[in-house]
């Protein structure tokens, strides 16, 4: 999953466009194209939906239907860091609920939301698959296991401090919004 949105700049918009044209006639390409769009922009922007519709001939309404059916796709930009809290069975029985509450408290946003400063997006996911390290969460592509409330607070604060140090750079979200408007 980290390839989807934690490395949002992995694929350039140009690569998305190339892929769009190369696969225009191939059946079943809608989902891979949406994945490519999300890889490019960090989310699926309206422009990408129109482009896909134009090239493949699939109506935009149908594309929206597919986007909203799958959890992977997002219609809103993400924060600079993605926190994915695992809510799998193994994590649940060892206290994922408490960990989730601590994350929400620390970020001051509920799941599925991005903090006002654009630094974090907080997501709850079904299972990260590292059940023996429960309770676990991922920040970007880094998994953190055997969590305690104290550990979670320390982690998030560490990211905040690091962000403050590099405060000169524009946050990724703004940069991406810019990229979209240019595209």
């Amino acid at each position: 999953m980290n390839q989807l949105d934690s490395e949002p700049s992995r694929v350039s918009p140009a690569a998305f466009a190339r892929m769009l044209w190369r696969h225009r006639g191939e059946p079943g390409m809608l989902i891979p194209l949406l994945q490519a769009a999300q890889d490019s922009y960090g989310f699926v922007p309206p422009l990408a939906i129109e482009q896909i519709s134009e090239v493949t001939g699939i109506p935009t309404a149908e594309i929206y239907g597919v986007i909203t059916f799958y959890k992977q796709f997002r219609l809103k930009p993400l924060g600079r860091h993605i926190i994915r809290l695992c809510k799998g069975t193994a994590c649940h029985v060892v206290g994922a609920e408490t960990i989730g509450q601590v994350v929400a408290d620390e970020l001051r946003v509920p799941p599925d939301e991005t903090t006002d400063d654009g630094l974090f997006t907080y997501l709850v996911v079904a299972c990260l698959g590292c059940c023996s390290l429960a309770p676990a969460l991922m920040i970007d592509d880094q998994t953190h296991g055997r969590l305690t409330p104290q550990k979670v607070r320390k982690l998030i604060r560490q990211y905040r401090r690091d962000a403050a140090k590099t405060a000169g750079k524009p946050p990724a979200k703004a940069a991406r919004m810019q990229a979209v408007s240019e595209a």
């Binding site: 999953m1 390839q3 239907g65 597919v66 959890k71 029985v93 390290l133 998994t143």
Partner: protein
């Protein structure tokens, strides 16, 4: 020459395996004179990650557990350079290992998953050569049918029958699909196989293609498994380059091209007709069967869908014959089954046991018992489609029919152990919130019924349950089961129905006494502070939103239960563990 193997499956990576590997690279130097450094996949003992194996080059090996980058230097100095085993760090796996039988996991944690040569050195692609050179498609189908192999994705449909039906179709165009959409929370068998031994699955697919006459294949894998996706892409390219896949395979005229499709996050896509819809680029909603995919599947052509674990069994069976496989197991369930053992168990990880072994043996002998050492209360099998089996039925053997008789299902292999601190009502609520969320919305009973059931369970968990709730839950559950189209809806009520069947007293405690026996449902417990343990630091006072905690600095604090809203925040900030639930 000595070899050092670092376990870099997802569990190993999550535990910091990459850093350990990095440290070994630094210390062993680029020429690697003293030992060769290698990567490997998941060996199954996830509780002890990061695992490092040192092979002496003469068949002997030592397995070290819980290795951090700081410990690497000592392994290099003492073991690799001086030959002294660091006995304190050695993992003793003899007890749990002797009861296992590794067929599917035969190469996991042993070979480097990125190396086709290492797979070939362990009989890799020999089964494919055997079928191409010496067997007719009908003979291959017969071997699989005789082996008694059944679908490992959960439902247990006989694989031989599925292949025979697909082979019987006259269509010129057929597909083999590997279902790697392992969406069940708490299960990671397929992921581990794909990450640790991807070629075994590809070989299984190629054999299936030969048997049924397919010319194209898809692997539908969860996008949430980046490591598996990466290794699969690499393996497909490798196998194609060596002509184990592609056109005119091994010069025998078989054409079979494999493509990878990444799922986009929908649990229901594990259902075969939904999976097909998703590959076609549509919303992944199941459709009515018949026609079954073996008659009309992907783009209307006959399609044979097998699970990862099923396919990984195939090369082993073809090479050794049906009898070698079906001596393991019970009358109706042959071979082995891989389980992802997790929850409140000491030795969580991946285990492969012969069918017919009892649940108790898996949990106590292989899993090492519960974390706290006491007896387990229940074991959850089959994920959101399965149910909770109580400890009193711990002697139930692992067998499709016998597990189904308990109300749970074999499922894909998630096995979550629960002890006294797990509330069964809460577990039922947890699974239902999952299936409710994942319901595609096509069938009314599944869409609306699960929602109503969830509302009732949520109410019970906060102490607002009513006497009639239990009857309503069972009635709704039965109706959802009988009027849903696909496996998701038909099995969604199972966690609720099994907990109602075996743990009714816990529902009564929640509804009538307004108490949670496991002290898990926060709304139904009282919080208090242990005067002896409290240091009077005041952290909890600052955290409490309603001012329920009072006390002088450096003196024991108290909680006013009348003001307390039972949010549980104070417990999470207390460094002394002085706040308890009563």
């Amino acid at each position: 020459m000595q070899e050092v193997l670092v376990g870099l499956g997802s569990c190993g990576l999550a535990a910091g395996g990459q850093k350990v590997y990095q440290r070994f690279t630094e210390l062993l130097g680029s020429d690697q004179k003293s030992a060769v450094l290698k990567k490997t996949g998941c060996i199954g003992m996830c509780y002890a990650e990061v695992l490092v194996e040192v092979r002496d080059g003469n068949g002997g090996s030592t397995l070290y557990r819980d290795i951090s980058p700081e410990k690497v230097a000592r392994i290099v100095e003492d073991h690799i350079k001086k030959g002294q085993v660091i006995s304190d760090w050695v993992l003793d796996a003899a007890a749990s290992g002797s009861k296992q039988k590794r067929i599917v996991l035969r190469n996991c944690g042993i070979i480097d998953p990125d190396s086709l040569d290492e797979y070939l050195a362990r009989e890799g692609y020999q089964a494919l050569e055997k079928v191409l050179h010496k067997m007719t498609p009908a003979e291959v189908v017969a071997v699989i049918a005789n082996s008694g192999l059944r679908g490992r994705g959960g439902a247990g449909f006989p694989t031989g029958t599925k292949w025979r039906l697909a082979a019987a179709s006259k269509d010129a165009h057929k597909y083999v699909i590997c279902n790697a959409d392992e969406g069940d929370p708490g299960a990671f068998m397929d992921r581990s196989v794909l990450e640790s031994d991807p070629h075994s699955v590809l070989e299984g697919m190629a054999i299936a293609a030969y048997a049924i006459g397919a010319d194209a294949g898809y692997i539908y894998v969860r996008a949430e498994y980046p490591e598996a996706v990466k290794r699969l892409r690499h393996s497909i390219a490798q196998a194609t380059a060596r002509n184990f896949l592609g056109s005119n395979i091994l010069g025998k005229g078989l054409n079979f091209h494999v493509k990878l499709k990444e799922g986009a996050g929908a649990f229901v896509c594990g259902e075969e007709t939904a999976l097909i819809a998703s590959i076609e680029g549509k919303r992944g909603m199941p459709r009515v069967r018949p026609p079954f995919p073996v008659e009309s599947g992907l783009w209307g052509h006959p399609t044979c869908i097998n699970n990862v674990e099923t396919l990984a069994n195939v090369p082993w069976i073809v090479l050794r014959g049906a009898e070698a496989f079906n001596i393991h197991g019970t009358a109706g369930s042959k071979g082995t089954k891989v389980f992802a053992l997790a929850g409140k168990v000491k030795h969580g990880g991946l285990v492969e046991v012969p069918m017919g072994m009892t649940i108790n043996e898996v949990i106590y002998d292989i899993g090492g018992g519960t974390l706290l050492g006491g007896p387990f209360k229940a074991v959850q099998m089959g994920g959101p489609s399965g149910g909770c089996i109580p400890a009193s039925l711990g002697n139930t053997p692992i067998d499709y029919e016998q597990i189904t008789a308990t109300g749970a299902i074999m499922g894909s292999g998630g096995m979550v152990v629960m002890d006294e601190t797990t509330c069964m009502v809460d577990v039922a609520r947890f699974f239902l919130s999952f299936t409710q969320n994942e319901s595609c919305g096509k069938c009314t009973f599944c869409r609306v019924g699960t929602k109503r059931m969830l509302e009732i369970l949520e109410r019970i968990c906060v102490g607002k349950g009513k006497d009639e709730d239990i009857a309503v839950l069972s009635e709704l559950g039965e109706q959802i089961k009988s009027s849903s189209l696909c496996g998701l809806g038909q099995s969604a009520p199972n966690p609720v129905l099994t907990t109602l069947r075996y743990f009714l007293h816990e529902y009564h405690a929640h509804i009538k006494d307004k108490k949670c026996p496991a002290k898990c449902c926060l709304a139904l417990v009282d919080f208090s502070i242990l005067a002896d343990a409290c240091s009077g630091c005041g952290l909890c006072v600052a955290t409490c939103d309603v001012g329920a905690i009072t006390g002088e600095k450096k003196a024991a604090h108290t909680i006013d239960v009348l003001k307390c809203i039972r949010c549980g925040k104070c417990i999470t900030v207390c460094n002394q563990n002085a706040i308890i639930k009563t």
